[in-house]
């Protein structure tokens, strides 16, 4: 009877893309500012949530249709600039601006999708990179609009300098992103994405239009980048084209890969592991990057499937244990 109830509860959760574990994790995360200890920790948590969200969005393309969008940071910047400029030029409230920033990135995603629709993953990744570089170059050169390298001051979202309200905004974005993405990848859309990622030729003959589904995928993924970019702009208060540089994408990519591709939750979790560790190495200066590089190499060699790669063995292990217990109970 009781078992029935819990499984029913899980089923309802499953409908919104959550599992009991992720629900608990989100509740803990939501309450974390209360016992974070100090403002620095809240800020660090906030950055983890932000980059975790970006990594999830990145994973939707990289992990499902097999296109690592190398222009991801540029799209994030595009969202940021859009929102910031809408406020500056048209007085648009940042709340709407952020969403419009997301839509602007979506538009760019549409373009990238159109450009790359028939290409294999590696090619598409590199072409997305080119588009990103073009965007960055434009942000630099359009000084009349973006003030180029000088940097654009951006209106903060809240009056207060404290991070907690910002934390809850990005936390909300993160939870929504997680739920939406989980639902999508479990739906028929997810099926099309995976099929395209595995064998484009077969997918086409089976009726999956690469055009349509790549576009959908890119649009969603880029929307997340743009939205997060908008948030970033209104949080940090300054935008420069360097935000759009390739190294930004690599940072997101590292988190996504360490988390494990094609799981959504892996990249999110990875942000909470990698970023604090990396921050704690700050005092080592160059050595920090050497360690970073070495860790990256070792992770890829020894756990190429990332954190999410442990899902199957762990599940199998618990299944076995549970099965044994049940058997024991029966006897």
């Amino acid at each position: 009877m009781k078992e029935n109830k819990t499984s029913k509860f899980s089923a309802i959760l499953g409908k919104v893309g959550l599992s009991p574990i992720s629900l608990v994790a989100f509740i803990v995360l939501g309450l974390s500012p209360l016992f974070a200890g100090n403002e620095y920790n809240i800020r660090l948590l906030l950055m983890c949530v932000l980059y975790g969200t970006l990594a999830m969005g990145f994973d939707l393309s990289a992990g499902y249709i097999g296109v690592a969008n190398w222009g991801y940071a540029a799209l994030m910047g595009l969202g940021g600039y859009t929102s910031a400029l809408l406020f500056e030029r048209a007085g648009m409230t940042p709340w709407v601006g952020m969403i419009l920033g997301g839509l602007m990135a979506t538009l760019a995603g549409l373009l990238i999708g159109l450009l790359t629709l028939r290409m294999d993953g590696m090619f598409a990744a590199l072409l997305a990179w080119f588009v990103g570089l073009i965007l960055m170059n434009a942000a630099n050169a359009l000084t009349g609009l973006t003030r180029g390298a000088l940097g654009l001051q951006v209106q903060p979202l809240f009056d207060t300098p404290w991070s907690t309200p910002y934390f809850y905004v990005i936390f909300g974005i993160c939870v929504l992103t997680f739920i939406v993405l989980r639902v999508i990848v479990k739906s028929h859309l997810g099926l099309a994405f995976t099929a395209l990622g595995q064998d484009m030729q077969t997918a086409r003959t089976t009726g999956v239009s690469p055009l349509k589904y790549r576009l959908i995928n890119f649009c969603i993924s880029c929307f997340i980048a743009g939205l997060c970019g908008g948030f970033y702009a209104h949080y940090i208060g300054i935008l420069t084209p360097t935000l759009m540089a390739t190294k930004g994408t690599i940072q997101i990519l590292v988190i996504a890969y360490v988390g494990g591709r094609g799981s959504i939750w892996g990249p999110l979790l990875a942000a909470f592991i990698t970023m604090p560790i990396f921050e704690s190495l700050n005092s080592l200066v160059e050595l920090k990057y050497i360690i970073y590089g070495l860790v990256l190499i070792l992770v890829m060699i020894f756990m190429p499937n990332g954190i999410a790669g442990f899902e199957r063995p762990v599940k199998a292990f618990f299944k076995k244990r549970l099965g044994r217990k049940k058997e024991a109970a029966k006897e």
Binding site: W162, G237, I238, N282
Partner: protein, 408 residues
């Protein structure tokens, strides 16, 4: 609220340890600007070691914060310093965009920030006209104000008849960075006074070292003067050499060049005749500093990275001393008051500088130091063989400027 309850570590913890003053120094120790960061770290360390890290009754602890070149990382790192290690005052900085993000952190914890060396005007825009900004002062003025020497010099040349007043076609070529863009605007604002005609203006990505095409274009444009500003010394040196190869018939400026300690190694004689608007370490005080520095760290400090921040550190030491005298206590709060009441009103000046005549701030001038020949100015240097010759202002002049043959 929750936030204030668990934050605010910096300001409130100050009273507990009366005899230690922790200074955060947010500079880029990694990334593209790491070279500058390293030099800042060394000069500032040296400045405080010269007083045994003791100022008044306080022991100074320097907390070098790696601000990298990213706004978010820099702000986070500074926040860590303030919250976790209790830094009570901030000194120096580098990239302007990172500095803008860090201003918010300082305001939040009410930690005053002295002598930021971020030059571009975004940072001025960020704080000027705002009450209660904790960015007290910059050690570098807006870069707009710095190129004055070139134009004064040009006027002089024309007056002496060494330069034909009708040869005023000029080219602007700079990095596509805040520095470069501001430089371009400054030149274009100043040249109309000479009836100058801008025949070429372009900005290039920062890591480019192949300029043959742009040089060809400048050559075709018929420019007499080329105002060049490439921050990356690799690029600056490359431009000079390539201009020489292509026989570019212009008088050139190149602001970055002396920032690379080994510029002559990079360019050889190709740079002869080029003008550089950067102070040189010339006076006795400066030589003393340069020597001590070289002995200690094994490389020559550059005037406008190391030198100016050495001044900043020394000036801060002076401020702390005066602050203790005035308020008996030195912490975030008193240093903030000191900055507002004394520093920003011109109540304290610093003239033991290795670089400029004196640093002084005034209410009209905001957070920038006053720029003129009595206060802050950069000399104009002309490169000649492996020598750097000061040609402006007259007071410091080592030799008169010459117009190189190729530019005649």
């Amino acid at each position: 609220t929750v936030a204030t309850g668990c934050g605010g570590g910096g300001a409130s913890a100050a009273g507990a340890e009366d005899d230690v003053l922790k200074i955060a120094v947010p500079i880029p120790l990694t990334g593209e600007s790491a070279k500058a960061g390293k030099e800042l770290q060394d000069t500032i360390t040296m400045a405080f070691e010269e007083v045994d890290n003791k100022v008044g009754s306080y022991t100074i602890e320097l907390d070098f914060v790696d601000a990298t070149s990213d706004a978010d990382k820099g702000a986070l790192a500074l926040e860590e310093g303030i919250v976790k290690r209790g830094d009570e005052v901030v000194l120096s900085s580098w990239n302007s965009s990172v500095a803008v993000a860090m201003v918010d952190v300082c305001n939040k914890y009410k930690v005053p920030w002295y002598f930021s060396s971020s030059s571009s005007s975004v940072i001025n825009e960020k704080v000027e006209g705002k009450e209660n900004s904790y960015l007290m002062s910059k050690i570098w003025p807006k870069s707009e104000s710095l190129a004055i020497g070139y134009f004064a010099l040009l006027q002089e040349l024309i007056d002496n008849g060494e330069w034909d007043a009708s040869r005023v076609k000029y080219a602007v070529f700079a990095d596509d960075t805040d520095f470069g863009r501001v430089f371009g605007t400054t030149v274009k604002d100043s040249m109309p006074a000479f009836n100058g005609e801008c025949v070429f203006e372009d900005y290039t990505a920062i890591n480019v070292t192949d300029f043959y095409t742009s040089i060809a274009k400048i050559k075709e444009s018929g420019a007499d003067l080329a105002f060049v500003q490439l921050t990356n010394p690799a690029a600056g040196a490359a431009f000079i050499k390539q201009a020489k190869e292509s026989n570019l018939p212009c008088l050139q400026t190149s602001d970055c060049l002396t920032e690379a300690a080994n510029w002559y190694e990079l360019t050889g004689d190709a740079a002869t005749g080029t003008l550089v608007c950067r102070s040189k370490l010339v006076n006795d005080r400066a030589m003393e500093f340069a020597k001590a520095f070289e002995d200690k760290y094994g490389y020559t400090p550059s005037a406008t990275t190391g030198g100016i921040n050495y001044d900043g550190a020394k000036f801060l030491i002076k401020c702390i001393e005066e602050c203790e005298k005035k308020y008996e206590k030195v912490n975030s709060e008193t240093l903030y008051q000191f900055g507002k009441e004394v520093l920003q009103t011109g109540g304290i000046t610093f003239d033991d500088s290795v670089l400029v005549t004196s640093y002084e701030y005034s209410a009209d001038n905001g957070i920038d130091p006053i720029v003129d020949e009595d206060h802050f100015y950069f000399q104009v240097i002309q490169l000649d063989g492996d020598k750097e010759v000061v040609v402006w202002p007259e007071a410091d002049r080592e030799a008169p400027m010459f117009v190189p043959d190729y530019a005649k």
